[in-house]
């Protein structure tokens, strides 16, 4: 029993499944362990909403860039050096006085990785996936986002091929600000379309 403990505690079944797969894939030359580490580092430390903030801030300041972003999101995002897996086709959709866009993946969790990193837990969870399409305004209210009745709410369902980035409306009073100042106003949630830019972003998301 425990007093005669001379070995390592066995890992959980889940950990063993991952170890089994990983060691087999490495042996077969299909996966390189060093590249795995680099990839994890990339997603943990290097890509995240800060990339999307740079894209949106530039679009707000530079009408030509915004036009290119709306024309071909993937290309315009790559101009700033953001590309790679999860960004095969990025489509930017712009919030205006008449249209508010929000993004969901009803199937799983498709998301524009190069500009937003990996999605938050609520985005991946059943309530948001199910309700964003069915009752978007109610979901938005739960995020503290009120969209006037005369503004159309458009919900975009991401797929493996097409991922959406919302260009939020610049908040009133932001006209003369620099791109650095503008970035402060842009939250990850505003680029998913569940909050407004400049509205702040509490740590707990709604819809859960």
């Amino acid at each position: 029993m425990a007093h005669d403990h001379d070995h390592n505690d066995p890992p959980s079944d889940t950990v063993l499944r991952v170890k089994a797969l990983e060691s087999l894939l490495v042996e077969k030359g299909l996966v390189d362990p060093e590249t795995l580490d680099t990839l994890v580092d990339r997603f943990e430390n290097r890509i995240g909403p800060q990339n999307g903030k740079a894209v949106v801030a530039k679009a707000w300041r530079d009408p030509d860039y915004k036009a290119r972003l709306l024309e071909d999101g993937t290309k315009a995002v790559a101009e700033l050096g953001y590309s790679g897996a999860g960004g095969e086709t990025i489509v930017a959709v712009e919030n205006t006085d008449r249209v508010h866009n929000m993004v969901v993946c009803t199937l799983c969790s498709c998301y524009p990785w190069p500009v937003l990193g990996l999605p938050p837990v609520w985005y991946k969870s059943a309530p948001y996936r199910a309700r964003a399409v069915r009752e978007p305004r109610k979901v938005l209210e739960e995020f503290g986002t009120h969209i006037p009745a005369d503004v159309e709410v458009r919900v975009w369902d991401s797929t493996a091929e097409t991922r959406y980035l919302v260009i939020p409306k610049p908040p009133l009073g932001s006209e003369g600000m620099s791109e650095e100042q503008l970035k402060e106003l842009i939250s990850r949630d505003s680029m998913i379309g569940v909050r407004l830019a400049g509205a702040g972003q509490p740590n707990t998301g709604g819809a859960s």
């Binding site: 797969l21 990983e22 894939l25 299909l30 991946k124 972003q201």
Partner: protein, 106 residues
């Protein structure tokens, strides 16, 4: 880090994620093929009331990746099960503090 804290809760989640993305980036499968299998796993889990949170999410991810590897004939189920047992045996027979290694492999 994300604004919500660490992206992965546990190392195995990061490993499962990274293996999938690496193989996709190397061209072994299309992301759409992955999304079909992964989406089906999520749907099943959601029907069973397990569609929430990071842990459920990466359990679906792992199951989907196992299925994809099997479908693409990269790693079969018996192969996986045998290797899992080998790792478990190695853990049980390695004295505490020594690195766990599989017999007959370096």
């Amino acid at each position: 880090m994300d604004e919500d804290g660490p992206v992965f809760d546990e190392p195995w989640q990061a490993q499962a994620f990274a293996m999938t993305v690496q193989m996709h980036e190397a061209g072994y499968f299309e992301w759409a093929e992955w999304a079909d299998i992964f989406g089906a796993e999520i749907e099943k889990a959601t029907r069973q009331g397990r569609g929430c949170g990071n842990s459920d999410y990466y359990m679906c991810w792992l199951s989907a990746f196992e299925k994809l590897m099997n479908e693409k004939q990269f790693v079969s189920e018996p192969e996986r099960n045998k290797r899992k047992q080998d790792w478990l045996d190695a853990h049980l027979h390695t004295p505490h503090g020594e690195p766990v290694m599989l017999k007959g492999r370096e």
